[in-house]
């Protein structure tokens, strides 16, 4: 089942794909580190993390089936 990662808005300029999955990951900090390794440009990108459709403000443990979203700010109108 793994962990699903969703990318939104201009984050997909960097990731190109809008989602990917990870076999296994202990927590959101570790996941972010792995994503940064895969997509170094994320380091300069502003975004917030949501775990299972709820915004998170600190490191959270992950379990199989969790969905993590990376949401950047939007400004167009």
């Amino acid at each position: 089942m793994g962990i699903k990662v969703l990318f939104f808005g201009s984050v997909t300029d960097i990731t190109i794909v809008s989602e990917l999955s990870r076999e296994d990951c202990a927590d959101t900090d570790t996941l972010e580190k792995e994503l940064l390794k895969q997509f170094p440009a994320l380091a300069n990108k502003k975004y917030f993390l949501a775990l299972n459709q709820q915004v998170i403000h600190e490191n959270c443990p992950l379990k199989q089936g969790d969905i993590v979203a990376l949401m950047p700010p939007f400004s167009g109108g």
Binding site: T12, D13, N44, H57, A69, P73, F74, G76, G77
Partner: protein
């Protein structure tokens, strides 16, 4: 009591009734921005019978607005958006009051204007305005309905919903205003007309719910719509305890026009040369030139001359791919290329040039030859 016949179709809805209609008639709503989001929001709020609507925009109608701002027509080109909007909306509903603000919201006027309204619709297209609306609304304890689009996605959320304790606001999500050039604007990346139409209409829906008390009261729910997949993704928002307190001294210190990190302040001083398309065409004929396209990979059209491509989003990590020689930089409109030119000059120490007007100017010039 407002006109019964006009509003009969919403009055007879279960849970709506005369009470909800009266609340709408007594409400005062400010719409900041009369563009892709603001036009549909205004049309539906006026139709629903909001008693008093403020409309704010400094711009005039232009041809490239018409694919998404369908309130306007070809005869309106060159006229002030707020004047045209007021004229047309008065024909739609003469029973409501429209207040025109034909200028931009700024730090000096924000308090006096927003104070007159119950809530604000953010129909702006830039971060400066969004942060200014957020902070002013937090200070004045007003709710505001956020709306924005990015590529094929759009989103909407009620911010600072003062009907509930400890409401979420924009700085809980993004405490600091992004740098001016960190994100490309619609003007640069394009937008499909119907998308801000959907989001602006959703904003009007949230305003109606907020005023009448209909439906569920959420402490911040971000709705993200994806045009291509036709799906909505919901994210529940919660206050971030680390967000700075927004008080008067915070507001006074803030520079909304370009609240910058040190780096951008440093960049402001970097002088780069802007060249026009004529000069670019000349440079193409010289041997050994290096032209760099900084648009994102999904941006079209592709260039018909020799060039390198490093998207803005990965520029900072890709400096070693650049040769130690003058770089001529181009993007869609000539906005991001100025920032890229400053950044490369600062960190790479080479001369940089930005093509004025970008590819838009280039293709115009080439078409005319």
């Amino acid at each position: 009591m407002p006109d019964f016949k006009r509003y009969i179709r919403q009055l007879i809805l279960p849970g709506f009734g005369a009470d909800a209609q009266r609340k709408l008639a007594e409400a005062k709503v400010l719409i900041v921005g009369m563009g892709g989001l603001g036009c549909p929001a205004l049309q539906y709020l006026a139709g629903a019978g909001i008693g008093s609507i403020g409309i704010m925009d400094a711009d005039e109608v232009s041809l490239s607005n018409l694919h998404r701002q369908v309130l306007f027509d070809e005869f309106d080109i060159g006229q002030l958006k707020v004047s045209v909007a007021a004229r047309k909306i008065t024909k739609l509903n003469s029973g409501i009051q429209l207040i025109e603000f034909p200028f931009q919201l700024n730090k000096e006027n924000a308090f006096a204007i927003i104070e007159q309204f119950d809530c604000v619709v953010d129909a702006t297209d830039n971060f400066s305005a969004k942060y200014l609306i957020n902070d002013t609304c937090v200070l004045l304890k007003k709710a505001w309905v956020y709306g924005a689009v990015s590529g094929y996605e759009g989103q909407v959320a009620v911010m600072n919903n003062i009907h509930i304790p400890d409401p979420v606001h924009y700085r809980h999500l993004f405490p600091q205003q992004p740098l001016r050039n960190e994100f490309a604007s619609c003007e640069e990346t394009g937008v499909i007309g119907v998308l801000p139409g959907i989001i602006g209409t959703m904003q009007a829906a949230e305003v109606i719910k907020w005023i009448t008390g209909l439906g569920k009261l959420q402490n911040g729910l971000l709705l993200n719509y994806h045009f291509l997949s036709g799906s909505w993704y919901e994210i529940a928002l919660t206050p971030n305890p680390e967000t700075p307190v927004i008080d008067e001294s915070f507001f006074n210190k803030m520079n909304y026009n370009m609240e910058c990190a040190n780096e951008e302040e440093e960049m402001e001083d970097i002088d780069i040369t802007e060249i026009d398309v004529r000069q670019l065409l000349k440079i193409q004929e010289e041997p050994g030139h290096f032209i760099l396209d900084v648009r994102e990979l999904h941006e079209y059209p592709s260039l018909d001359f020799v060039h390198a491509r490093i998207p803005m989003s990965v520029l900072k990590e890709s400096l070693d791919q650049l040769p130690q020689q003058p770089v001529y930089i181009i993007c869609h409109q000539g906005i991001r290329s100025v920032y890229a030119a400053q950044y490369i000059k600062l960190h790479k120490g080479v001369e940089t040039f930005s093509v004025k007007g970008g590819l838009t100017a280039y293709f115009n010039a080439v078409d005319h030859e």
